[in-house]
């Protein structure tokens, strides 16, 4: 069975660093490189920011993160909200498209895509959005449990 952790927190922007640091701390047991860890933190930060800025735009709701790691060093991070949902996922994922005002670059999904191995987005308007990201860490000579 995979090694899994779950985390839920209110969508205050002050929790963004808590969320990515917690996922990073969980994954640290795989002894990732500094680059791998920073890639993952960046991707998680983007997904959590989307929940805070978009899903719960005018409210505070809960953000749910499930992270799991496997013996072959695959990381899966699922980030879910029960917010407004995305009417047009393809449009939302276009680089530079943003509904978040001019201080938002519209590159959240681009960062998630380029800093992980795969990205899946499921969304229903009025019900919420789930982001699933996979990342495989490079091999190490000694393995799983240190």
């Amino acid at each position: 069975m995979n090694n899994e952790m779950k985390l839920s927190f209110s969508s205050y922007s002050s929790n963004e660093s808590f969320a990515r640091a917690t996922v990073a701390a969980f994954v640290a047991q795989l002894d990732p490189t500094i680059e791998e860890l920073s890639d993952l933190k960046t991707a998680v930060s983007e997904a959590v920011t989307n929940c805070i800025v978009h899903a719960y735009r005018d409210a505070i709701g809960m953000v749910y993160i499930t992270a799991s790691i496997s013996k072959d060093r695959r990381i899966t991070v699922k980030i879910r909200d029960k917010g407004c949902g995305i009417p047009d996922i393809a449009k939302a994922m276009e680089p530079l498209f943003s509904t978040g005002g001019e201080e938002r670059a519209g590159l959240g999904f681009s960062v998630m895509e380029s800093f992980t191995d795969s990205l899946r987005v499921r969304s229903k308007v009025g019900q919420g959005t789930t982001i699933i990201m996979h990342k495989k860490l490079a091999g190490r000579l000694s393995g799983f449990a240190r």
Binding site: S17, E103, S110, A138
Partner: protein
């Protein structure tokens, strides 16, 4: 965490520190805009040398200050983005609008081999032997250190 300012003639430098995400960026933006609004510099430099993390909020921060400096008829430069931050910034076109500068050679010997124009050490030194540069990075017990020699090579990949 936050912003420190150095103002020299018409050149304002904003030294950012800590992590730049959506939460932190909004406070930094306000501080920089207030200071730049008062000082009306010809040149604004955003110094990232003390930033430890940045997501795409950093792009918004740079883009917004670029527009601000255009409105003030000045210019903007960005100093000392780390490799990770450069990868984020390169997803946008902002590097075409704003010069991305480095005040010191990159930390890793691999990258610095290219960008040391004034290097006077003989060429043989640049062969990059696997150096134990990451010794501070973690927490192996002593017994594990003894088996580390092979892994040191992999650390650089």
């Amino acid at each position: 965490m936050g912003v420190r300012f150095v103002l020299k003639d018409d050149h304002l430098t904003a030294i950012l520190s800590g992590e730049i995400d959506h939460h932190a960026a909004s406070g930094m933006r306000e501080e920089i805009d207030r200071k730049a609004g008062q000082a009306k510099p010809k040149l604004l430099t955003l110094d990232f040398s003390q930033v430890t993390f940045m997501d795409s909020s950093g792009i918004g921060l740079i883009m917004g200050r670029y527009r601000l400096m255009q409105a003030l008829r000045g210019s903007l430069t960005v100093l000392d983005l780390s490799q990770q931050m450069k990868r984020v910034v390169n997803l946008s076109g902002v590097g075409q609008l704003v010069p991305l500068e480095n005040s010191r050679p990159p930390r890793k010997p691999k990258a610095s081999a290219k960008s040391k124009p004034k290097e006077t050490i003989p060429e043989t030194v640049e062969q990059e032997p696997p150096q134990p540069e990451e010794e501070s990075r973690d927490i192996y017990s002593h017994s594990e250190w003894e088996n580390q020699e092979k892994k040191e090579v992999m650390v650089h990949e």
